[in-house]
């Protein structure tokens, strides 16, 4: 791209090593034509939480939680109190009769949990005598409870009173535990190699079922809709579960194999690092399931149980966070420092990629019981579509950890380079500014 100025190929080597598609500078579909850099963190910013439709909170390894107005880019509040990095953050809506007042729960490596008021930056509650640091948080709104997960599972009520503690039976380090509420009183706890299903009625947690289908560490877990949830493992297994019968609905092993016909396949498979097919993140809109697999993306339709689209080398490096913006729009961010926007498009010639550019995906019928529903799955995917890159956002100089889309108001990304970037639609912004200009003009009564 810049070879004329680089004077050699070496510098570009890292860029060109993997055959990543490059969209170039002409991006007509990319509407983010304005950016604002939000400074304030001193370390990696890992989490972003949307508070309401114009505020978001960012938290990172510096222990700070900053609250931003994404319309103006102002820093509204600074929540100081944690001495170590923040490991989990979630919003917690305190519902009174009329109003719903959002507050923030943060967990930190200093083994404290805090409840904050984002309006005043007050630390409303603090619990500091935890046995272990909390790795994840889950709010069960209908029960007015929230759960913290780490090496032990704790259930709290909304007044920060501990209702229950249950140590996890397996002394495994919970690298990434995901908790998700399915039904009123169900909890899933994902642990390594196992899914433990617990029930929670009148605040008691008991193990209902243990799902041990995964061969490797479970990395991601998501509830797709009322009847289904999905889990992804480090080894690239993506399993779709029925949340009532606890049965496997579909199992996919994504290997990102380029071509089965190739003789080198076996070697490649062996040489392939597991991280290249590790499922880092799952996102869904109820119909489609989007998995970040290594540096690639994989879209699965849970209704028709078919693969919709996939792209192995969607990024130069591991994809860290994904979002389905709509049925056809996908956004992903990666360790390579970029955010990419994709569109699920029909293949111009559907027959070709289906036959040639094949991928290592098997559909396993793990249990014989499920052979029935799985029988529909076939290797030849009739309506396979493609993920087309429509735009990328380059700005961060480190891995983009996470992003939140505020729809037309913009997009916030956070990164290891300590920055947040607010991406906006330049046209919309300029219209808003014009509006403000004429408003001010009117107020001033002329120039």
């Amino acid at each position: 791209m810049l070879r004329w100025i680089l004077g050699g190929r070496e510098a570009q080597g890292s860029l060109e090593k993997s055959p990543v598609l490059c969209i170039g500078e002409e991006q007509p579909k990319n509407c983010f034509t304005e950016l604002q850099v939000l400074k304030g963190h001193f370390d990696i910013v890992r989490f972003l939480v949307q508070i309401d439709d114009f505020r978001c909170a960012s938290a990172g390894d510096d222990g700070l939680v900053l609250i931003w107005n994404i319309e103006t880019g102002e820093r509204l509040q600074e929540l100081r109190g944690h001495s170590q990095q923040i490991t989990a953050i979630t919003t917690f809506v305190c519902r009174s009769d009329v109003t719903a007042h959002p507050s923030l729960i943060t967990a930190s490596s200093d083994r404290t949990l805090s409840l904050w008021d984002p309006d005043t930056a007050n630390r409303i509650q603090t619990i500091s005598d935890l046995q272990s640091s909390v790795k994840c948080l889950l709010v069960l709104e209908r029960l007015s409870l929230w759960v913290s997960g780490g090496e032990e599972l704790c259930v709290w009520n909304k007044d920060f009173q501990l209702r229950l503690t249950k140590p996890m039976c397996n002394n495994v380090l919970l690298q990434q535990t995901n908790l998700k509420c399915f039904d009123l009183n169900l909890l899933i706890v994902a642990v390594i190699h196992r899914l433990t299903l617990s029930t929670d009625s009148s605040v008691s947690v008991s193990e209902i079922h243990r799902l041990s289908e995964h061969q490797d560490q479970i990395r991601a877990l998501i509830s797709v809709n009322d009847g289904l949830f999905a889990s992804g493992s480090h080894a690239g297994e993506l399993i779709l579960w029925d949340s009532i019968s606890w049965t496997t609905q579909a199992t996919m092993h994504i290997l990102w194999e380029e071509s089965q016909a190739s003789t080198q396949t076996e070697i490649r498979l062996g040489a392939q690092k597991p991280s290249e097919m590790s499922i880092q993140h799952l996102s869904t809109n109820g119909k489609l399931l989007l998995a970040a697999v290594g540096s690639g993306l994989y879209v699965y339709n849970v209704v028709s149980r078919t693969v919709v689209a996939y792209r192995k080398a969607a990024h130069d490096s591991n994809v860290l966070h994904t979002t389905l913006l709509s049925d056809s729009e996908v956004m992903s961010c990666s360790e390579d420092g970029s955010v990419r926007m994709w569109e699920i498009q029909d293949l111009p010639l559907p027959a070709e990629p289906a036959s040639a550019g094949f991928f290592g995906m098997w559909t396993f019928g793990r249990s014989s019981k499920q052979s029935g529903p799985q029988s529909k799955k076939v290797v030849d995917i009739p309506n396979l579509r493609t993920l087309e890159l429509t735009g990328d956002l380059i700005g961060h100089s480190g891995a983009v950890q996470m992003f939140i889309s505020f729809k037309e108001k913009g997009l916030v990304t956070c990164s290891t380079d300590h920055l947040l970037i607010l991406w906006k639609n330049g046209d919309t912004q300029s219209r808003l500014r014009s509006l403000a200009l004429f408003h001010k003009l009117e107020e001033n009564g002329g120039l």
Binding site: I5, V37, G73, G395, S397, G426, R431, L435, L437
Partner: protein, 949 residues
């Protein structure tokens, strides 16, 4: 001109004395002035009196017979000893006046003595009256000399002078009569300010002098009274002796004198209460209130003092006299005191006969007006002189330009140099000039002193040079004792202290102490040492002075101020004038390299606050200058007192040492800015200097963008930048694309290995950066580390160092990473990578084959183009329907298409040009909404093309 200014001008005319001398030019008729045309510079024909009607054919010939080359300001005095004499010229340069006879001209202007000011004893009044005369303003012409002058007469008070007044005048002398006539209002305003400043200082000095004199008199009175008492004790037979009668007469004289001086003090203190007829004489309100309160205190004090002194009181109120005596001896004892007790003014014995004689030395102007005020006034006049440089046409243009620019604040920031913000009070109100800078409350008066003579300058100058004469009596280095040092010098007003009085006072003291018993003396010393001077001393039979010691603390605090600002002793000039001379040096230094000062010069009367701001600004950091001041600055006050030929003695100020083009061409006294701008490439170093000095008076220089951090840019640099830009345009065929990138807000990175080359190019290209910031904040001339996103947000033009690996590779990686946001101009390879430009606008300024050969011409050409662009952007920004729907049913697409058609059809802009306009409009919007820089970074996704030569 605003309404109020009109009113002022009208009112001021009523004060003008119309003098029937043939050489006095009629300014205007009063009745007609009421309906002046809206353009004040456009005076009716009848008011301009052509000097040599035949010479009018050549407009430049008009001034050719003047014997001086430049306008200047002359201050002269009608001395009661030698008659009219010039005191100083501004600027202080001998060649300013050329062959012009200052003495003669002083005679002329002083002979038009202004008012029949009555001085002396009015009939029916026992005491001499001070005459409160308003200033008078006349325009004089001397056709033989080819000189015209605005002459401002004013009087200053001097206790030693005849009738206590000394007439002075300040004159603005120019060769162009019309210039004076048309600038009359402003000249009048500025000279009034200077005059007010001088007079304010003078009143303080006068009051102080009176105070001293009163103390002297009262001391004398007490001494005489005691002698009389002694005589009476000695025996009744002595009472009627000739000696005794003489003594009694003397006593009566002294008493009368006390009454007279007290009355004078009352008069001078009532100055502020008197209604002013002169509308332009506006004084600083705080000065006035302070002055009033001081005066009241002073009056209180002396009203008590002047109670007829009788022997019956002496027992009770003896401590006053004792205090005096203590003070007279106290200087030696001060160090032993430990406590920082300073004696107040030491009164002197006055001989009965007044020392009014012809051989006495009259006070010089700085003494009359106190150093601070004098320097401030001179500074004011200097600025006046500076701001009136250039011919009428130029002044007019500049004024128009400035007025226009004030109206265009919304778009000014784009390509024009920032106007100063301190022109806030544009309401046309007169803002008084205040020599002591009352806008800053940097000094605190502890308990309002008797005479506040200025700011407490010691606070500003903690490290004043010690006066070697006083070091002996001075061991403590604290400020208090330093003030005491000043105090010891303040023994008497210098004109009082003739040799005789000193001697006589010595005598009296000697005889007096011999009269007293040694015991008593010792006792007194002891009492003084233990600081119980307040206690009444029953032994003392001296003249009572009830207040003297009770307000010793107050006295001392007042003396603080007095000594620092109001000291008038000759040896003390350097100290006294430290604050102001610092300012002078600072301004001189600044004069050469910064435009800040000079562009402050306000041609519009509303801006009379500016000199003050300037002052303030300078005064805030004087410490750094002090070393400069000590060794380089001439002591103006000592030089300024010149009896005969001021121009021969005045030092050549650094400011004017470099020859200016106009001095090289003597026939035209008025410099033509066009000539200055016209040539750049062939400027010699001499002219480089003239660039600096005259940058103030060059109108078009303000349009460039300053470069680099911190400093503003001189005209010279801008012209150089214009030259560089021209070279760039001629050298690179893709210059148009590069300029387009800058104008549409796409960051341009100039990469190269040669620092000088890159820097030069950046400087040249910086002319095209819209809204470069006050100090060129958006331009980075030289950077040698990899780019980051924040850099891109901050700078719009970056000079980047091309370095070898490994730093270079990361640098280049950053370039390639952000390549979508930047355009890259490679100086070494002579390539440019940027989106293609489609438009015609820039073909005009970036013409590869331009016929323009001179940088400054090109610079002006750029400016005019950019100016037009800014105007269009303004129009575009503030046209409502181009941005917002006119009706609620209208969609955004309709607005969009309307905007497009406006840009394309009405403004005739192609896509690329529209982008430029949109960017400028965006800048204007942001500036209007959030003047405090709230930066967001806009870009678009287009492919770049690589251009090669």
């Amino acid at each position: 001109m605003t309404q109020s200014a009109n009113a002022v001008s009208h009112a001021s005319l009523t004060n003008n004395t119309m003098i029937g001398s043939p050489d006095v030019v009629a300014f205007t008729k009063e009745d007609e002035y009421g309906q002046t045309s809206p353009e004040p510079w456009d005076l009716p024909e009848e008011f301009s009196v052509p000097l040599h009607p035949l010479a009018d054919s050549n407009p430049w010939a008009k001034t050719s017979y003047a014997k001086f080359t430049k306008d200047f300001i002359l201050i002269s005095e009608f001395s009661e000893q030698v008659g009219p004499q010039p005191l100083l010229t501004i600027p202080d340069e001998p060649k300013i006046c050329g062959t012009f006879d200052l003495n003669y001209f002083s005679l002329r202007i002083m002979s038009v003595d202004y008012q029949a000011s009555f001085v002396g004893h009015p009939p029916g009044s026992g005491y001499p009256r001070l005459s409160f005369v308003e200033d008078s303003r006349v325009v004089l012409g001397d056709s033989k000399e080819g000189a015209f002058a605005y002459v401002h007469h004013f009087t200053l008070y001097d206790l030693e002078a005849r009738g206590f007044v000394r007439p002075f005048c300040m004159a603005y002398i120019a060769a162009d009569e019309k210039k004076i006539m048309l600038q009359f209002q402003e000249l009048s305003l500025r000279f009034s300010q200077a005059s007010e400043c001088l007079k304010a200082g003078n009143r303080r000095a006068f009051a102080k002098e009176l105070q001293r004199k009163l103390q002297d008199l009262e001391y004398t009175h007490s001494v005489l009274q005691r002698e009389e008492g002694l005589q009476r004790e000695a025996g009744p037979q002595c009472v009627y002796s000739a000696h005794a009668v003489e003594k009694a007469n003397e006593l009566a004289n002294v008493e009368k004198s006390i009454y007279e001086h007290r009355d004078l003090l009352k008069q001078i203190c009532s100055y502020h209460r008197r209604p002013r007829r002169d509308p332009q004489a506006v004084a600083c309100r705080r000065c006035m209130t302070e002055c009033l309160s001081e005066c009241e205190e002073l009056l209180d004090k002396y009203a008590k003092l002047a109670e007829p002194v009788s022997h019956s009181e002496k027992g009770g109120k003896g401590e006053g006299g004792e205090g005096w005596l203590d003070d007279s001896r106290g200087e030696e004892e001060e160090d032993e005191d430990g406590v920082k007790r300073r004696p107040s003014y030491t009164p002197q014995l006055i001989k009965a006969k007044s020392a009014k004689c012809f051989d006495k030395r009259l006070k010089i102007l700085p003494e009359l007006c106190e150093g601070t005020f004098y320097e401030a006034a001179v500074e004011l006049l200097k600025e006046t002189e500076r701001s009136f440089r250039g011919d009428l046409c130029y002044l007019h243009t500049r004024r128009l330009d400035k007025a226009l620019r004030k109206n265009l604040r919304v778009v000014n920031f784009l390509f024009e140099e920032e106007l100063d913000d301190n022109a806030e009070d544009e309401s046309g109100t007169l803002r008084p000039f205040c020599a002591v800078n009352h806008s800053v409350d940097n000094h605190v008066h502890l308990n309002s002193p008797h005479i506040v003579l200025g700011p407490d300058t010691t606070q500003l100058h903690p490290s004043k040079p010690q006066d070697p004469l006083n070091v002996a009596s001075e061991t403590s280095t604290t400020r208090q004792s330093e003030l005491g040092l000043g105090e010891s010098q303040l023994e008497s007003s210098p004109s009082d202290q003739t040799l005789e009085t000193q001697e006589s006072s010595e005598e009296t003291k000697g005889s007096f102490s011999s009269d007293k018993s040694g015991l008593e003396l010792a006792e007194k010393r002891e009492s003084m040492a233990s600081m119980i001077s307040e206690g009444p001393d029953p032994d003392s039979d001296l003249t009572p002075e009830p207040d003297q010691n009770t307000d010793a603390g107050r006295e001392s605090s007042s003396e603080d101020v007095e000594t620092t600002a109001g000291e008038e002793d000759d040896g003390d000039h350097e100290r006294d004038q430290t604050p102001v001379s610092l300012l002078e040096v600072a301004s001189e230094l600044d004069d050469c390299d910064s435009l800040n000062e000079s562009k402050l010069l306000p041609p519009i009367d509303a801006a009379c606050c500016m000199p003050q701001e300037h002052f303030l600004h300078e005064a805030s950091a004087p410490d750094t200058m002090s070393s400069v001041q000590q060794n380089s600055h001439p002591k103006p006050s000592q030089i300024l007192v010149v009896n005969q030929e001021p121009q021969a003695l005045l030092p050549v100020q650094g400011e004017y040492t470099v020859g200016s083009p106009c001095s090289e061409s003597p026939p035209t006294s008025l410099e033509l800015p066009v000539g200055l701008l016209g040539d750049v490439a062939s400027q010699t170093s001499v002219e480089e200097g003239s660039d600096c000095t005259l940058s103030a008076s060059t109108g078009s220089d303000r349009a460039a963008s300053p470069l680099g951090y911190g400093g503003t840019v001189t005209l010279r640099e801008r012209k150089k930048a214009g030259q560089g830009a021209l070279r760039f345009v001629r050298q690179y065929p893709f210059a148009m694309q590069a300029l387009w990138c800058l104008l549409r807000g796409r960051t341009l990175v100039v990469i190269g290995s040669d620092e000088g080359r890159v820097r030069r190019l950046v400087l040249a290209l910086a002319l095209f950066v819209p809204s470069p910031g006050k100090c060129g904040e958006r331009v980075q001339a030289w950077l040698s580390c990899p780019l980051t996103l924040t850099d891109l947000l901050r700078w719009k033009l970056i000079g980047l160092q091309r370095v070898g690996s490994p730093v270079g590779s990361s640098l280049l990686y950053s370039l390639s990473r952000y390549s979508r946001y930047i355009s890259i101009l490679d100086v070494d390879m002579k390539t440019l990578r940027c989106p293609p430009y489609s438009g015609r606008l820039l073909a005009n300024i970036a013409d590869h084959r331009t016929y323009i050969r001179r940088g400054s011409t090109f610079f002006l050409h750029i400016q005019s183009t950019l100016c037009r662009l800014a105007a269009r952007a303004f129009l575009f920004t503030f046209t409502h329907h181009l941005h917002l729907p006119v009706s609620p049913v209208e969609g955004q697409e309709v607005v969009e298409s309307r905007r497009r058609s406006f840009l394309q059809e009405q403004l005739g802009l192609d896509k690329g040009d529209s982008q430029v306009l949109l960017y400028l409009s965006q800048l204007i919007t942001q500036q209007y909404l959030w003047p405090a820089n709230r930066s967001s970074f806009s870009f678009d996704y287009t492919t770049s093309v690589l251009y090669k030569i």
